[in-house]
Amino acid sequence: MTDDPLAPPLFAPPPLPEQERMAEAILFASVAPVSLAELFARMPEGSDPAEALAGLRQRYEGRGVVLAKVGDAWAFRTAPDLGHLMRREVVEERKLSRAAIETLAIIAYHQPVTRAEIEEIRGVAVSRGTVDMLLELDWIRLGRRRMTPGRPVTFVVTEQFLDHFGLESARDLPGIAELRAAGLLDGRPGPVVPGTGEDEDGLSEGQPELFED
C-alpha cells in the first residue's frame, strides 16, 4: 500500500505508542473496567496490553483522569481530589445500615467467610436482608463452600466492590497488613463467648485462603 521504506511490516504488531493509544481508546469508551484478556482480544495480534497499560498509567499520573487497576481489570476514573467538581454526577446511594457496613468489612477482611463466622465476630445474628442487600449491590458473592461439616457457604467480595472502593485488590484493604500482624484476622479455636452466632459450621478452619502467597 505504501512505499514508505520506514513503514512497519504488514503484520507486525503496532508500535508501543500506538498500542497505548488503542488501550487508551478502549478504556475510555467503557464504563466498566476492562480486563487484560479483553484488551488482548480487542487489540491487534501481537500487542502487549500490559506494557501499553504501564505506559498509559504513567502518562495519566497526576492528571484529572487516572488509570485505575481493579482486580484483573483496568479503568479510567476521575482523580479523587476533584470529586467536589462532580457534584451533579453523584449518584444517590442507599444508606447502608451499620450492620451492613460491618458485615461488608468483615467479609472483605476475612474472606472467604461463612455466615457463622461473621456472626461470631459481630456477636449478633446477621440480620435478615443484610446479606441480600450486599449481594444485590454486587459487592459480595458466594465463594467456595467450606470443607467442614455442613459444608457452609462462604462469601467473598467482588470486582465491583474493589472498583467502588478504589482498591486494586483485596490485599490493598486499608490496614489489612497491620490487622494480620496483630493476629486479628486469624481464626481462633471456637467461640468461647455464648450467644454469638449459632456456631453451626466448625469455625476452626477459619483461615482465609485468598491471601495465601
Binding site: F28, A29, S30, V31, A32, A68, A75, F76, R77, T78, A79, P80, G83, M86, E89, V90, V91, E93, L96, R98, A99, I101, E102, L104, A105, I106, A108, Y109, E120, I121, R122, G123, V124, D132, L135, E136, R141, L142, D163, H164, F165, G166, L167, L173, P174, G175, I176, L179, A182, L184, R188, P191, V192, V193, P194, G195, T196
Partner: protein, 260 residues
C-alpha cells in the same frame, strides 16, 4: 489526658456516669458483644489491657440496673450475663489444677480478643467507607462511546433470581393440590361466554341447571361448572341482562332474559 492510661479496676465517678448513661440507650446496642465493647471503652485503657474482671462487673451491674428499671432484656444479654458470672467466679478462685479445658485466664483473653477484633473491624469498616468511592469521589466515564453495534440478545439472570426461583417452587409445594389438571375446571369467563349466547334463546324462567354444559357430570366437573355458572349469572344479573329468582333458600335458581 494522663488518666487515659490509668490501669486497674477502680470504678471512678466518670465510669459510673457513663455506664448509667448507657441505660437510656439499651436498645442502641447490637448485642452483648457491642455492649461489652462500649463498657470496655469506659475503662479508658487499650483494649488489650482491659480488665476482664472489671468488665464482667460492669456488665453485670448494667444488667442489674436495667432490670431494676423493669426493662426487658433480650435473651442473649442474659446468656452473656450468666457466662460472665461463671467467668468472674473462676477468675476469683485459685486455679484448680485438676480441671480440664481452658483456664479462666484463657477464657478472659479470648473475650478480650473478641472485643479487640470487633473494635478493629469497626475501624476497618469506617476506613473502608471513608475511601474515595466510585460515584461519590471518583467517577466513571459519563458518556461511554457509541460503538458500531451489532445487537444480539443475551439472557441474564442473577444468582439471586435463581435461588428465589427455586425457593418459590419449593414453597409452592405445600399448595400442590391447587395445580390441578385444568381439564376439570370450568372458568367463569367460559361460563359467561356460554350464558351470553344461551340466554338469548330462552323464553321465560329456566332452571340454571339446564344451562350446565354437557359432559360435565363427574362430581368434580359438575361442581366446577355449577360454581362458574352461578358466578356468571350473578354477573349477568348485575349488568341487568337477566333476572334471577329463587323461591326458597337452597332451592333451584331460575333465570330469564330481562325483557327489553
Amino acid at each position: 489526658m494522663a488518666d487515659e492510661w490509668q490501669e486497674g479496676p477502680a470504678i471512678d465517678t466518670a465510669d459510673r456516669l457513663s455506664a448509667e448513661a448507657l441505660i437510656v440507650d439499651v436498645d442502641g446496642f447490637e448485642g452483648p458483644l457491642d455492649l461489652l465493647l462500649t463498657l470496655a471503652r469506659t475503662q479508658k485503657v487499650d483494649l488489650r489491657r482491659v480488665s476482664v474482671l472489671h468488665l464482667a462487673e460492669q456488665y453485670l451491674g448494667f444488667v442489674d440496673r436495667v432490670r431494676g428499671l423493669r426493662i426487658e432484656l433480650a435473651a442473649d444479654y442474659l446468656v452473656m450475663a450468666a457466662w460472665l458470672v461463671y467467668l468472674k467466679s473462676r477468675l476469683l478462685l485459685p486455679p484448680d489444677p485438676t480441671e480440664e479445658g481452658p483456664s479462666a485466664e484463657d477464657l478472659a483473653a479470648r473475650l478480650a480478643f473478641q472485643l479487640e477484633r470487633l473494635a478493629a473491624m469497626r475501624v476497618a469498616a469506617a476506613r473502608l467507607m471513608a475511601r474515595d468511592r466510585l460515584g461519590r469521589d471518583r467517577f466513571a466515564r459519563g458518556l461511554p462511546e457509541d460503538m458500531a453495534v451489532r445487537r444480539s440478545v443475551s439472557f441474564t439472570a442473577t444468582l439471586l433470581d435463581l435461588m428465589r426461583a427455586y425457593a418459590r417452587i419449593r414453597t409452592r409445594d405445600e399448595f400442590r393440590p391447587f395445580s390441578m389438571n385444568r381439564d376439570d375446571v370450568f372458568t367463569m369467563e367460559q361460563a359467561l361466554d356460554r350464558l351470553r349466547t344461551l340466554v338469548g334463546g330462552t323464553v321465560g324462567w329456566t332452571d340454571l341447571a339446564a344451562f350446565l354444559p354437557e359432559g360435565w357430570t363427574s362430581p368434580a366437573r359438575r361442581r366446577s361448572a355449577t360454581a362458574s355458572h352461578f358466578a356468571a349469572v350473578l354477573e349477568l344479573a348485575r349488568n341487568g341482562q337477566i333476572d334471577l329468582r329463587q323461591a326458597v333458600t337452597f332451592g333451584p335458581l331460575s333465570l330469564r332474559r330481562r325483557p327489553t
